[in-house]
Amino acid sequence: MARISQIEGNFQFRERSQWWSVTMLSVCVHFPGLTESVIAAACSRVGQSVLHLDRRNYYAGNWASFTFNGLLSWIEQYKQEVPITELEQVWRSLIDEGEDAVPLSALDSSISNLEVFCYARLHEVSEPKEDQHTSDISEPSQSQEEKESQLSSSPADPTVEVQKKITYQKLVKEGRRFNIDLVSKLMYSRGALVDLLIKSNVSRYAEFKNIGRILTYRNGKVEQVPCSRADVFASKQLTVVEKRMLMKFLTFCLDFEQHPEEYQDYTEKPFREFLKNKKLTENLQHFILHSIAMVTQHTLTEEGLKATQHFLRCLGRYGNTPFLFPLYGLGEIPQCFCRMCAVFGGIYCLRHSVECLVVDKVSNKVKAVIDTRGQRISCSHFVVEDSYIRDEQRQSTAYRQISRAVLITDRSVLPSESDQQISMVTIPPLESSAPAVRMVELCSSSMTCMPGTYLVHLTCSSSGKAQEDLAPVISQLFHVSTIPGEEPSEVLWVMYFNMRDTSALDSSSYSLPSNVHVCTGPDDSLCSDYSIKLAESVFHHILPDEEFCPPAPNPEDIIYDGDGPQAKGPGFDESTNTECLESSQE
């Protein structure tokens, strides 16, 4: 799908590059992540002309999803990234009198501390003796630890184990079977994203898989969290009395607002204390706090109850857990919206970015943008991702970081009857100062990794570098070979990086014209609701009187009145005939 929409976009761009350079656009979207894609789709859907520009050669920005090989070249790019020399001379001449230029940042600094380690052997080894010599070669980046670990790995039962193990070569060869997301999130089955996908009919562009089980790490081992009725019934680790207490508590949470007397003494106190007061056993407190409500030790009672309630309301809509995951990775979702945008006439343009904004001095509004090729494009709104904003335009730089790790493993963290389940694992803080970690283990039937492997995403809000935050968790949960004589590692490949979390910022954090809409990047929460709500609010800001993503019509219900040879798709004809868009009406 990625390829199709890219072609679609480029095609339209080439066809009409002459056209859009002289006309006025209603919305120009820059660096499209999920939020920007949704805004673009929503605007395009109600008839606005939308131009989508991206400096990258792939879609969805930090929300992108890569094949293994794609990810390796992304890593290469990251390592080599240097500031592009600015073409100030070119665009200076395009600024008229009474206009100001606001340059955009050319360097994306939202990703940092990238580290890669490979534990898989490079090639198949036929002679066990040579093993030690061949296994220490790894790509693409070699670090100290990695070399050590590779040198030291010598399998206990080489003849059997070596044959079975997946090599680095194999990962690269099968690389296109991987769809590795930079952002790891799940979709609550009654969350804002699912609602929007259904409402707008965008869901038709994607397929989804249910998360099969919810696990947690407790007392040194991974165990299943009983969260649905069937889980509680089947659970072997709970006593019958615990089963009753858990079900009773969960039933109460479903409509806790109806029973304020139960929790009113605890509104100012942490949820954790409320659970204790409810006489729930430690088992149950752990499950509810960390795996069902998924809140911290300090979260207040009402918020905890709300989180529990949301979790429970999502249960059973599409299966026994509250979550869905898009096949081929989360990166599909922004692309689905891009497709919708393109179907309704949006124009896409990769490897192309905006150099500066042209601001009218009198109205203090953006009236045009100047791209890297020195073209001036008029537009009435400009939507941009936070990372393009220069520090001069910022009022506040109070952003956080997200720590991420991506692992390729060759066995599940908790093997079970079915090896084709997506598991969500909640890992409470290992020490009181450490952050809680969220882990999603994707199986090959989710179309994100090659058969025989699992793609594991770890996410937490950073307290330091990603590796510092997550390596201890990985070593607890997975067998990573570091000691000589041990059997080979079940982790084949690891990547750590930090991603900037700008979700705490809002429009007051920037000193920009009012028709520049800055979208913050992905946040560290499990779901995408934040980004969807942001998209909706930006959309209503741009077009206060329009409906946000009304259902797209079925192809058979569309009337084609332009019968020219160009009438290839809906929205195509109309937008070419559009000369000056009346979006300045607002």
């Binding site: 009725r229 019934f233 089963k243 009753r244 207490m245 019509p553 219900d557 009145d561 929205g571 559009t578």
Partner: protein, 502 residues
Amino acid sequence: MHGRVKIKSTAQQEEEKRKEKEKKLKAFVSARDAVLKKRSAGEHDEEALQLTRQLLSSNPDFATLWNYRREVLLHLETLREKDEVQKLYESELHFIEACLKVNPKSYGCWHHRTWVNTRLPQPDWTRELGLCDRCLSLDERNFHCWDYRRVVVKASGVSVEQELQFTDRLIGSNFSNYSSWHYRSTLLPQLHPQPFHSHRVCEEQLLKEYELSHNAFFTDPNDQSAWFYYRWLLGRGVCVCVCLELLCICEDTSAHPMLCVCVCVYVCVCVCVCNLDDLHVCVCICGRSELSVEKSSVLQAELQSCNQLLELEPQNKWCLLTIILLMRALDPLGHEKETLAHFQTLKEVDPMRSTYYSDLCSKFLIENTILKMEYAEVRVFSLSNKNLTTLCHLDQLLFVTHINLSSNQLLRLPPHFAMLQCLEVLEADDNAIENLEGLYHLPKLEEVSLRNNQICKLSDLESLASCTKLTRLDLRGNPVHRTAHIESELSQLLPRVTALSL
């Protein structure tokens, strides 16, 4: 506004849909007529299959068409080689699958599928089981599919063990599925029979099953499936009657069928209504305890589990009721007080069924009194001021001479009250009795006290005329005394009554 995709209006869409529908209907009707014509002409050819196929795939509930199809298939079968027949019926199975997608609860489809499998030279049962699993995963209560599955299991000889695992799986995914629990209850005695009692389940397996039901009702105590299964596990009363003694106490053989009494082992009393010349035809009414006598240690443990649940869920009716039954099985007299308290709670938490609980409670009280009476070896039965609402187990009171039912909530003396052939004195003051049907042909009845009841009409007292020894009758506080000339009418009706109080 410019730049918008133009779409058809709802009216336009509806108009199109309507036209589409009309067209479809026309096509359906003409095809139907063609098929019926072919059938009456006795044509059994490929075309008939083709036509019925079209019709059935849009409406699989057209039974006539399935019949016609069977006729055609049977005819074609005679014309073809075995290989071809196999192919013919296999394609039929595929077709039925498509129809089931239209209506998974179509009687015609499932019936036809069963039939096809009987005709198929080499049926593929594994595939059929797979189909059932798929259907049940979509709707676990599709009883058509359950029925069909039973046929498949029987035909293909799936082991009982596998079937038990199948119920494990279904119950695991949703334990509110009574079909699976019930199926389990039919499989267990086959797989783990109790020595000497093949219809019961051996103890080792029973304990596992108890645990399974605990898991279910602790998870959701309001779900009745598991409770019913649990009660089945605890066992229903099973009585073996052996006639020891035949006692004829009826003197008037001409008036009504002979009434005989057999006294049986285990203090169970059976009443056999039979003709003199047809003694071996007996109707047994027996069984006093709801739960069979399992090892009392097991029942004790179960009672503890239920009490544990009751502590957490003091309002749960299923739990309360099960506790009552367990207590009765263990020690009915020892637990009488608690039982009564539980009944009180039951009536409060489940007011819709309060009368049912009252009746059940009456039954248990009567049982307890009978027990006490048996220990004491007396022929006096006294149960006053106990809120009785119904009378039962009268069959077990055949030798009683004195009955005291005063201060209860009885509404009537039911016809089977007439079984108390030895009864001499009846006290039933302060009830709400308005019907005396049961006071009929009681040959030894001498004294009846019905003070403060609801007897309204003289006709209500007519049955008393058949009790020939009745001499004392107390009707004070009944509406009947307001009837005109009551005294004279009564003396006419009951001439032998010498002491009448009104």
